[in-house]
Amino acid sequence: MTDNIVAETAERIFTDLADAQSINSAANDGWKSTLWTALSDAGLPLSWVPEDCNGAGVSLADGFSVAGSAGRFAVSIPLVETMLAGWLLSQAGLPSPSGKMTVAPARPQDRMTVNADGTVSGRARGIPFASDVEYIAVIASGAQGSMIALVEAASCRIEAGENLGNDASDTVTFNNVKPVSIKPAPAGTRPTSLMLMGATLRSLQIAGALETMLDITVRYANERVAFEKQISKFQAVQHNLAKLAGEVAVAVSAAGSAADSVADSTSFDDGVFLEVAAAKIRCAEAAEKSAAIAHQVHGAIGFSMEHILHRYTLRALAWRDDFGQESYWATELGKFVAARGADELWPLVASR
């Protein structure tokens, strides 16, 4: 399934401690701390933090594989968010604390500001797991350009919210918050860079969740008998599943291509922008179509909380909203293409 040791480790931990069936029937959230401890012991949350900052110093590519795996298990603890926060902090050479983190902003419309006295202000909506974490890594604009800061979650006002998958997605207000540490972002790292990294991660997670949706839906179609036949023998069901496989294939391929581009580039250039925007757009579209088909094939049982399907379908749909919705990226990509002109479109696409 995976081809590197880091992702294999993640996959093994998820298999042991984040099995969807066990989680779904668990009486409480106790499994979350067990899972987090195992992931932390393996160094996964700080995958992208350099070793001299107490991180695992894992390559971008390997970290992206962890995100794909987290998607396949619809992991609902802030693993990917902590990885992203660690990556952001290390861009400015800031060390990462241990413990859970998230990032702000998580929507392209929200802007954080660094005041003259070095405090941070702003309001960021849809911050994943803000009420579950100890720290928030922030990219903000100040008089000297972009700054990266580490902020204690306790020093912010957090209004609890939930995404479609019932994971925390909160509004965080930074009111002249004094950061734990703050440094200028290096040249080329801007709020857009965080959106691109976040969108890549969410695309991989969506693609991963879709892979599992296909898997459990195919399995269900082969098991479920109706009208005296396995429903997988009905051509209408087969064609729906073939369509589902097509959407999953596009998502897996597009997200993988975006991750590969980011991992291979030294900067967030035009090519990376095209790849990431396209992946987020296409994965979001695929999530919409795939959730509909997966539920259709499962019938009423798939709509019950008792069944695990919702863990994947609802998170895949929820992840569309983070780090730029597909309509946002489509508009940005469309403006970019239009500004370059018609004759530059094919050379751009063919350059990837």
Binding site: R72, K233, A242, G256, W329, G341, A342
Partner: protein, 386 residues
């Protein structure tokens, strides 16, 4: 996981980019010389044999074939680049493309040495046009239903029956066709079909053109009346064509020609919307470009996996299914977005003409080369559903 789909992250190597520049320069010269108009996809390609010859001279036909047969022993990925540049430029490739993509590889694998030495170098020089004889009246995608008979006779076979929807048969030098050599058995309803090489100049062949709703006349009905084909024109296993035909489909189904057939309307939309489109126009372009890019990356991935000797059968079927549906919907989406453009804009007429043509040809895109329904059956089998 049982249904894992594999898409290796293949990037085209630098030598492909060098080749891409050569192809673009060549096409620009041809356009400048008036060989074809890239803004006129509705023209009949059959009128331009000289273009095929010049493409052959450049070494861009039979690129992956052995040198001893006139090929160039280049990679599958290099061929990929040539195909997409030709397609995007609306180059008149009809005359050589079928031979390049399908017929040549079949001959390479199944024909005897004499036939290979005779025909393959001429294909590579761009001198030979092939047609594919699969469908018959009342059979279509149902290959089992093929009835046209090949009856064994002294030193060869006698062919009687009718093929239909045969693209380019009116200009083709040869046809690769499937004929019935015996009846299907109870155990194997796929048994009894054999693949043949047909020289279109053989007496007894009548080609009747069929006008298409697009205004083009590429289709034909081909009638065989006691047509004699020598023994060595039967290719591969007698009665075993089904397996031969299906094993080659991965190569035929995942190429860039499977999602770029109506691409030109997207370019013209971007031109007509101009450098500062409104939000609706921008979002529309962005989605279409994202979909195109995602599909192309998937297609490159399959090309790379084929190049590496893997067999991505399901993935290839998916590329054609998703790709043909996309190119079919594209002109309709462009039409939606173009509705708000000032019709006095300079290229609006070009866009309208191209849209009209693309909308007319769109319905056939999910039929040619294996219908959506057939592809979804293949995908379903790959998923373990049948």
């Amino acid at each position: 996981m049982t249904a894992a789909l594999r898409f290796d992250q293949i990037r085209l190597p630098e030598k492909c980019e060098t080749l891409r520049r050569e192809v673009r320069a060549f096409l620009a010269e041809e356009i400048a010389a008036g060989t074809f108009n890239p803004h006129e996809p509705q023209r009949e390609d059959s009128d331009i044999p000289e273009f095929s010859h010049r493409v052959g001279q450049r070494g861009w036909i039979g690129m992956t074939w052995p040198k001893k047969y006139g090929g160039h022993e280049r990679t599958f990925l290099e061929r990929y680049v040539v195909t997409e540049e030709m397609r995007v430029a609306n180059a008149p490739t009809r005359r050589f493309f079928v031979a390049d993509r399908q017929s040549g590889p079949v001959l390479l694998r199944y024909a005897n040495e004499r036939i290979k030495m005779d025909i393959l170098p001429r294909i590579c020089r761009g001198e030979v046009c092939f047609a594919i004889g699969m469908s018959e009246p009342n059979s279509g995608s149902d290959l089992f239903a093929a009835k046209t008979k090949a009856t064994k006779t002294d030193g060869g076979w006698l062919i009687n029956g009718t093929k239909i929807w045969t693209t380019s048969a009116h200009i083709a030098d040869y046809m690769l066709a499937i004929f019935r050599t015996s009846q299907p058995t109870k155990e194997n309803r796929r048994h009894g079909l054999t693949q043949f090489l047909v020289d279109m100049k053989t007496p007894g062949i009548t080609v009747n053109p069929i006008a298409q709703i697009s205004g083009l006349k590429e289709f034909n009905e081909v009638v065989f009346e006691d047509v004699f084909l020598p023994d060595d024109h039967a290719l591969g296993e007698i009665d075993g064509a089904w397996k031969q035909a299906t094993s080659e489909l991965a190569y035929e189904r995942s190429g860039p020609e499977r999602f770029l057939e109506t691409y030109y309307v997207l370019t013209e939309l971007v031109r007509a919307l101009g450098p500062n489109p409104d939000v609706r126009g921008a979002e529309g372009i962005g989605r279409l470009v994202a979909q195109l890019h995602a599909m192309r990356r998937m297609s490159v991935s399959v090309a790379g996996m084929l190049h590496a000797g893997k067999e991505p059968v399901v993935e290839a079927a998916i590329v054609k299914d998703v790709g043909t549906i996309w190119e079919q919907q594209l002109p309709h989406r462009v039409r939606d977005l173009a509705a708000f453009i000032d019709t006095d804009a300079s290229n609006h007429h070009t866009l309208e003409e191209q849209l009209a043509f693309a909308i007319k040809i769109a319905p056939k895109l999910t039929i040619q080369g294996g219908t959506t329904e057939v592809l979804r059956g293949i995908i379903a089998r790959g998923l373990g559903l049948r």
